[in-house]
Symmetry: C2
Subunit: 174 residues, 2 copies
């Protein structure tokens, strides 16, 4: 599992005033406190897919076949889930994943934060986690496709739209 090797060894380069690292629960988990809330990050791609579907339902995404979601997670380079932790109770409140060639490029997909937890800076903390993990894996070209409404959100995180005139393009059947 060389993929995970050293994932948590990377230097912190992000600025996150509200982020205070409190523990490293395991090789794949990281707990942070965000505005008094105990938030857990996991890199385990073996999520409860129905819990993930519930999260995606909550933001109004179209449902996708569970078996395809499972395949997509299995073949993602990075899967980050974000959990609210209260005692022994954990609730899935955020998610993001990335495809990659494991060498040069990564593309981030399916970034979601539960509506109940939006507006608290958690999307930023989640994305900073994603960027940190990809950088720790020596990925130099981190890309994504942003809906119009979230372009400025990603800009604040260091993403540039259409850099040097490069255009994101999608193929449609004719």
């Amino acid at each position: 599992m060389s993929f995970w090797k050293g994932l948590f060894g990377a230097a912190e380069t992000v600025s996150a005033k509200e982020l205070t690292r409190t523990a490293k629960a395991s090789h794949r988990q990281e707990a942070v406190a965000v505005k008094g809330e105990s938030i857990l990050f996991s890199l385990d791609p073996d999520l409860d897919l129905y819990e993930l579907e519930e999260l995606c339902d909550a933001v109004g995404w179209s449902r996708r076949p569970i078996h395809k979601v499972k395949k997509a997670l299995h073949h993602s380079f990075l899967v980050v889930s974000m959990w609210q932790q209260r005692g022994n109770y954990r609730r899935l409140i955020g998610f993001a994943r990335a495809t990659s060639d494991h060498a040069f490029n990564a593309t981030i997909w399916d970034v979601v934060v539960h509506p109940d937890f939006q507006g608290k800076g958690l999307g930023k903390v989640l994305m900073e986690k994603v960027i940190r993990e990809l950088r720790a894996q020596d990925i130099s070209n981190i890309t994504l496709f942003a809906d119009q409404g979230v372009v400025s959100f990603y800009e604040r995180l260091g993403f540039t739209p259409d850099p040097e005139g490069i255009k994101g393009m999608f193929w449609y059947p004719r």
Copy 2:
């Protein structure tokens, strides 16, 4: 190797007047005639990396460490190489690859045609091959990042820039 399963079973949906399929050399190879030239496509990711470097040199790309290129090819979902075939002699004249989650999304990278073979419609034939293979794998969302100068080339192939205002974005270290 479920990845390759059925790669050549897909229905032809592309229109390519100049493309006449003449043979299916093997599970991973396909020969076509393009304007009298015998062109071979291969899906084998185990390329001669120095030959690939020579091709990339020819179009003026920055050199990349061979061991990272090898890793990137190994972790690409699709690798398509295009060869000029003359008797027993084969020359690498084109290349493209795609990353993917094997389920929903693919992103095409490193599309290149040797300058000696540009302007003959081979870039189109190469990209149609890439699209066909991705569609045969049931990938519904085929994406890429296009330099300004090739946006119209990709538009002619069915790609749309910034569909519904979606922006391609790249992250840069701060």
